[in-house]
């Protein structure tokens, strides 16, 4: 049993990967068997990520050496002090992100059982879904710069295939083409940066490069390349134009999972800023850079969302806007890193930003699932043609209300918990930032009142039924987590968010977990 526990980080990546490739075979034998197969894979992955959080909390950062003689010999004795193999480095922040990704994919996978039923190539859908999950989990758990590129590409290719899944007169393919171009160019920019780092430091391991970091002019170029590529993939504002297309045209469950896929890139952006460059770089400037990206994303996202008439496109613009909160919170943490202000409010800002990651994944995932449910029944995504759905789709209405109140930051839902932390801490840093954040939150509420009114209120226009059970179960999983995190934010902060923020801020611990010493 103890032997098994050490292999959890590798199993989390391998199980979705292998089960995904076996899915078409099972699908040939039996449809029901395939659903059970996929849901089992997702449930096992979810259980393993929870076990991993427990392990990281009790035993500290977990390392796993791929193909090594033993799982934790990061530096083999005959290698001359260099970690030669690919190493998975799972600290509290990685474990937190892996849990988020696995949860949303579990809900999306169960939801897909009825929402994608009867479409052609259904077994391929689940193969790509599991590959996408595997890519996301790999991205957040790897400690190797090149390995990250590989998982990024696995994730991007699977996502692009899924965005184009419902061809819909070619319009989703147009969105997927845009997404695939952006992802591959972003990944190549990232790879170019990795090449420069390898040329300078003869290493690809993130901790190894961080420990040898000299902060030359070339490193600043690398930092710019990484920031641009990863901010583009995360959907931050100057490079956000693919987000509404891709989220808007993907099937409902895929839009929900794409949110976590973008957050995996956001994770990498934070990881590069904190663990790779860390205090030696000019953290005040990078922090303010993240803050300004965040403010732009918040503001442009929400103002563009106000004028949309397509329900999923509107939600996609809100996804951009909410990404801004995470950038703002963690950006304030980065700007104050290493000063006295960090312990006063910087850490709290980071906790708020990181807490917002999981909250956003839950409520935005839920909102995309409800939008998918409305489209599933009505066959249109145009808000002007909807109305009166609350008469018949009672559960969907309740789920939508919870998601909408949560994104607008209304207590007692989870959006309030993380937004309050961001407001409080950024107010101490710079009052204007927190005022902008509150204004954006009000505009978000305005926009969702519009959606709620035009889609669910009013006289009965359509004689539709409630969506099938599997879709409701998918939505209920996310709703229960929203309410749980909203009512007991202290539990989430103590066990999930607090350790994650401390792990991210502590560069020395990250390096020593791989390089030994300290």
């Amino acid at each position: 049993m103890t032997e098994f526990i050490h292999h959890i980080p590798a199993l989390i990546i391998v199980i979705p990967l292998l089960w995904g490739f076996a899915t078409p075979l099972i699908g040939r034998l039996s449809k029901k068997g395939m659903y059970a197969w996929v849901v089992t894979a997702l449930a096992i992955t979810e259980a393993l990520t929870i076990a991993q959080i427990y392990l990281v909390l009790t035993q500290g950062t977990q390392v796993y050496v791929m193909g090594g003689a033993t799982y934790n010999t990061t530096i083999p004795p005959d290698s001359g002090g260099i970690p030669v193999r690919i190493i998975l480095t799972v600290d509290a922040f990685s474990a937190f992100m892996a849990f988020t990704a696995a949860t949303v994919t579990l809900a999306g996978g169960i939801y897909s059982i009825t929402s994608e039923e009867g479409t052609s190539g259904e077994s391929m859908y689940y193969t790509l879904l599991l590959l996408m999950l595997s890519g996301m989990l790999g991205m957040v758990m790897t400690g190797d710069l090149f390995n990250f590129f590989v998982f990024l590409e696995i994730n991007s290719l699977a996502s692009a295939g899924l965005i184009a899944y419902r061809v819909g007169k070619g319009i989703s393919v147009e969105a997927a083409f845009k997404y695939a171009i952006i992802s591959s160019v972003g990944a190549l920019i990232y790879l170019f940066g990795v090449g420069i780092l390898y040329g300078e430091y003869d290493a690809l391991n993130l901790a190894m490069v961080a420990s040898r970091m000299q902060f030359t002019g070339l490193d600043k170029v690398v930092m710019a390349l990484f920031t641009v590529a990863l901010a583009m993939k995360a959907g931050s504002v100057p490079l956000h134009y693919w987000v509404p297309d891709a989220y808007g045209k993907a099937p409902g469950a895929i839009s929900a999972i794409l949110v976590t896929a973008s957050q995996a890139s956001l994770y990498a952006l934070f990881r590069v800023c904190f663990s790779l460059f860390g205090l030696g770089s000019n953290t005040l400037t990078t922090g303010w850079f993240l803050i300004s990206l965040g403010l732009l994303s918040m503001f442009v996202g929400v103002t563009m969302a106000l004028i949309q008439t397509d329900i999923k496109r509107l939600m996609a613009y809100h996804a951009i806007s909410q990404t801004g909160y995470m950038l703002l919170g963690v950006g304030v943490g980065l700007a104050t890193l290493g000063t006295a202000a960090f312990s006063q409010y910087g850490l709290q800002a980071m906790e708020g930003g990181i807490f917002h990651i999981i909250n956003h994944a839950m409520y935005k995932g839920l909102l995309f699932l409800t939008a998918g449910a409305v489209i599933y029944r009505l066959g249109t995504s145009d808000l002007n043609k909807m109305g009166g759905l609350a008469h018949n789709m009672k559960y969907t209405t309740v789920f939508f209300m919870i998601g909408a109140l949560s994104i607008a930051g209304i207590p007692p839902f989870n959006g309030f918990a993380s937004k309050l932390m961001i407001y409080e801490s950024t107010y101490l840093f710079n009052p204007i930032l927190s005022i902008i954040a509150i204004v954006v939150s009000v505009l978000t509420l305005a926009s969702f009142v519009k959606v709620f009114h035009s889609a669910f209120m009013g006289p009965k226009l359509y004689d539709v039924k409630e969506v099938p059970k599997a879709m409701l179960v998918g939505m209920a999983i996310l709703t229960s987590l929203i309410i749980l995190f909203g009512l007991f934010p202290n539990i989430a902060i103590q066990y999930l968010v607090g350790p994650a923020a401390k792990a991210l801020a502590n560069q020395a611990a990250y390096i020593s977990s791989v390089m030994g010493g300290a």
Partner: protein, 114 residues
């Protein structure tokens, strides 16, 4: 100067690739641009690992001279395989887009707005 020739080539190839992606009015040419950018990055990785006069990094029976670095070659192989997958996916998207829109001109493939 001659030693820097590979890097100059990288810049030129990447420049042509970015030009094709930005300004060419045909989606196939955009895909060619992505492919050129991939090649530029691959060439960059391989030339990083090159040592003048080095031999292939195979330890058994190798003469005791300089070797070129093995890691960038492994990276490049992986990157080439991924690049093929990306190109194939993008080209298959082009096929579907052409079937539904009847054109590959990005100015006309614009049903997503707002």
């Amino acid at each position: 100067m001659l030693g820097n020739l590979p890097y100059i080539t990288v810049v030129i190839v990447a420049g042509i690739g970015i030009y094709a992606m930005m300004w060419k009015r045909n989606l196939i040419k955009v895909v060619i641009g992505v492919s050129l950018l991939e090649s530029a990055v691959n060439l960059f990785l391989v030339s990083l690992g090159y040592r003048a006069g080095g031999v292939a990094p195979i330890y058994t029976n190798a003469p005791s001279t300089k070797m070129v670095l093995p890691t960038p070659q492994a990276l490049t192989l992986t990157s080439i395989v991924i690049g093929v997958a990306v190109d194939a996916l993008l080209l298959s998207f082009c096929v579907v887009i052409y079937r539904h829109y009847g054109t590959l001109d990005p100015r006309k493939v614009r049903r997503l707005r707002g």
